[in-house]
């Protein structure tokens, strides 16, 4: 995963810098680091989140280590919190790595970068936004207790949300009916993917605005920053509460032999 993130953060800059494209105006060069911080977030980083979270509990059941550990004087709450926070911290580190690698690669290929003071903020917002799919995948892993099935279901959720979002956009474009837009606002991919770009865009000078248009394309049905933050919190709270309640209630699954 680390290797993939490094590739993702370096190859696009190398290609852009060597292809001589005129697509990118020179005035946005100092903000190009934003591109690979923001662009992969709506999809790629959500997959990273589910890859970590879907197996966090289920792999412990499959390997039998949950059974062994929970037969010791270790509280269930402690175990649950350890698995959740451990995975979430790892995800946070990968998001930070993604941001730092983007800055390094952009600096090496397009010169000195500006607006770097916003990095801590945007990383924190990305970490918070990624809690949506992280907690949902964590919940699915706990409910189905099979890592492969949890990966499939979580991925299906992302893909389905993305496809539904596309259909809703098309329907909205064709009909102008605000109903489609209002549904689009609540889709998990919309919620998780909209917060970091909005946050970052509000902090950077207008010269960087063209960059966001290039990266994100036309947008419709996006919740405000505050609404998105609340919705991420609701998804997170619901998924975590469901998974913890199930974990407390259900028997500890036996090892898959």
């Amino acid at each position: 995963m680390v290797a993939f993130i490094i590739l993702l953060d370096t190859v696009p800059y190398y290609i852009l810098s060597t292809s001589g494209t005129t697509l990118i105006p020179q005035q946005v060069y100092p903000y190009l680091w934003v591109a690979v911080v923001i662009a992969p977030f709506p999809l790629f980083m959500q997959f990273v989140a589910i890859m970590i979270a879907a197996g966090a509990m289920s792999e412990e059941y499959e390997s039998g280590t949950a059974e062994l550990l929970l037969a010791k004087p270790v509280g269930r709450g402690e175990f649950f919190a350890g698995k959740f926070l451990g995975g979430y911290v790892l995800l946070g580190l990968l998001i930070l790595l993604n941001a730092l690698m983007s800055v390094v690669a952009a600096s090496l290929t397009f010169g000195a970068q500006s607006g770097l003071g916003t990095i801590p903020g945007v990383v924190l917002v990305e970490v918070y936004s990624s809690a949506l799919f992280f907690s949902v995948a964590f919940m699915l892993g706990e409910l189905v207790r099979r890592s492969s099935l949890a990966y499939i279901l979580s991925s299906a959720l992302i893909v389905a949300s993305q496809i539904i979002g596309t259909y809703l956009s098309i329907a909205y474009e064709l009909t102008g009916n605000g109903f489609y837009e209002s549904i689009h606002v609540y889709l998990p991919t919309t919620v998780a993917g909209s917060l970091p770009p909005q946050y970052e865009q509000s902090l950077l000078p207008s010269a960087a605005g063209r960059l966001f248009e290039l990266i994100l394309g036309p947008t419709m049905g996006i919740p405000s920053e505050a609404s998105a933050a609340v919705m991420v919190g609701l998804y997170l709270a619901t998924a975590t509460a469901v998974s913890f309640a199930y974990f407390r209630w259900a028997d500890v699954s036996r090892r898959v032999s």
Partner: protein
């Protein structure tokens, strides 16, 4: 009188239509309790209820007088567990596995010495720094027992601890368990190895089809489950008349001549060995050994399962 270390009080676990229990028995301090039963009889389910890994559908389970679900940390403190399938990370070394186990139970000081002690106790100290992936199945099984022993728990719960062990490994662990119980430790172990249970356990419980069929000592199980006992005689120079006289000893049901001696079937609860010995010596024979029949617990187990199946039908 102190409360039992392990107590099943009408514990039931329902899996849809299948039902384990109600199970009712207790294990006192210092006992080595052999939990017997065929595959799928409910032994592991009972062990999982005992450790708070499975929630009883009805009844109660207590470990060290505490509910392992509502007071998990209190009940499980001082309890070591070795599962049926050793759930050990293969990329680690035994020392690393045991250091992790020590940390999990909150052991902070003298960890290195404690690891050496348990590795020595299970007989794998020479493999302490090898990767688990390079150890044989038997060595991994011993390591699983070692991680249960770390921190000198007062109670051991062992699910098939002898599985996959060679005779030397079996003997090594047998001695370790006996020494552990002599030191005041309590063991509940499930096993299919009747010879080991017979030689090691102070009490046994037999579960079949989710029902506890028997609870008592191995000797009581043999007495209760078999219609007759068995005596093995090794002797030289026994004439046909001596054999005939043995047949007439009170309580003797049948005599079978086998290479090197006789197998004598005796009525349940009858101690016929002194009289048989006397007959052989007075008849001019040379008595080498006279003892109870071998594998009696196994025979009692098979007989009990037949009865249990009949009852179920």
């Amino acid at each position: 009188m102190s409360s039992p270390v392990i107590e099943f009080d009408g514990a039931v676990k329902a899996f849809g239509k299948k039902r384990i229990g109600p199970v009712q028995f207790s294990v006192e301090k210092g006992e080595i309790f052999g939990f017997l039963g065929p595959n799928g009889s409910g032994k592991t389910t009972c062990i999982r209820m005992l450790l708070g890994l499975a929630r009883p559908s009805a009844g109660k389970v207590r470990l060290r007088g505490l509910d392992p679900l509502s007071d998990h940390i209190g009940a499980l403190t001082g309890v070591g567990y070795s599962p049926e399938l050793p759930n050990i990370q293969s990329f680690m070394t035994p020392r690393e596995v045991l250091a992790l186990s020590a940390r999990e139970i909150g052991l902070n000081s003298g960890v290195g010495a404690e690891i050496d002690r348990v590795l020595e106790e299970v007989g794998i100290i020479q493999y302490g720094d090898s990767k688990v992936s390079r150890l044989s199945k038997g060595m991994v099984q011993r390591l699983s027992v070692a991680q249960a022993l770390i921190g000198s728990p007062q109670t051991l719960v062992l699910d098939e601890p002898m599985i996959g062990l060679d005779p030397a490994g079996t003997a090594h662990l047998r001695e370790a368990f006996i020494a552990y119980a002599r030191g005041g430790g309590t063991i509940l172990m499930s096993s299919h190895m009747m010879s080991e249970v017979e030689g090691m356990c102070s009490s046994v419980g037999l579960i079949h089809g989710g029902k506890l069929l028997f609870r008592g000592t191995p000797r009581e199980m043999v007495r209760d489950m078999l219609d007759s006992g068995e005596v093995r005689v090794e002797a030289k120079g026994m004439s046909a008349a001596v054999v005939e006289s043995i047949r007439k000893v009170e309580g003797v049901l049948a005599v079978e001549e086998v290479p090197g001696g006789l197998t004598v079937r005796v009525a349940r609860g009858v101690e016929a060995r002194p009289e048989i010995s006397k007959v052989i010596i007075q008849g001019g024979g040379e008595l080498l050994t006279i003892r109870e029949g071998e594998r009696m617990l196994e025979k009692a187990y098979i007989e009990a399962l037949k009865d249990g199946t009949d009852q179920a039908q």
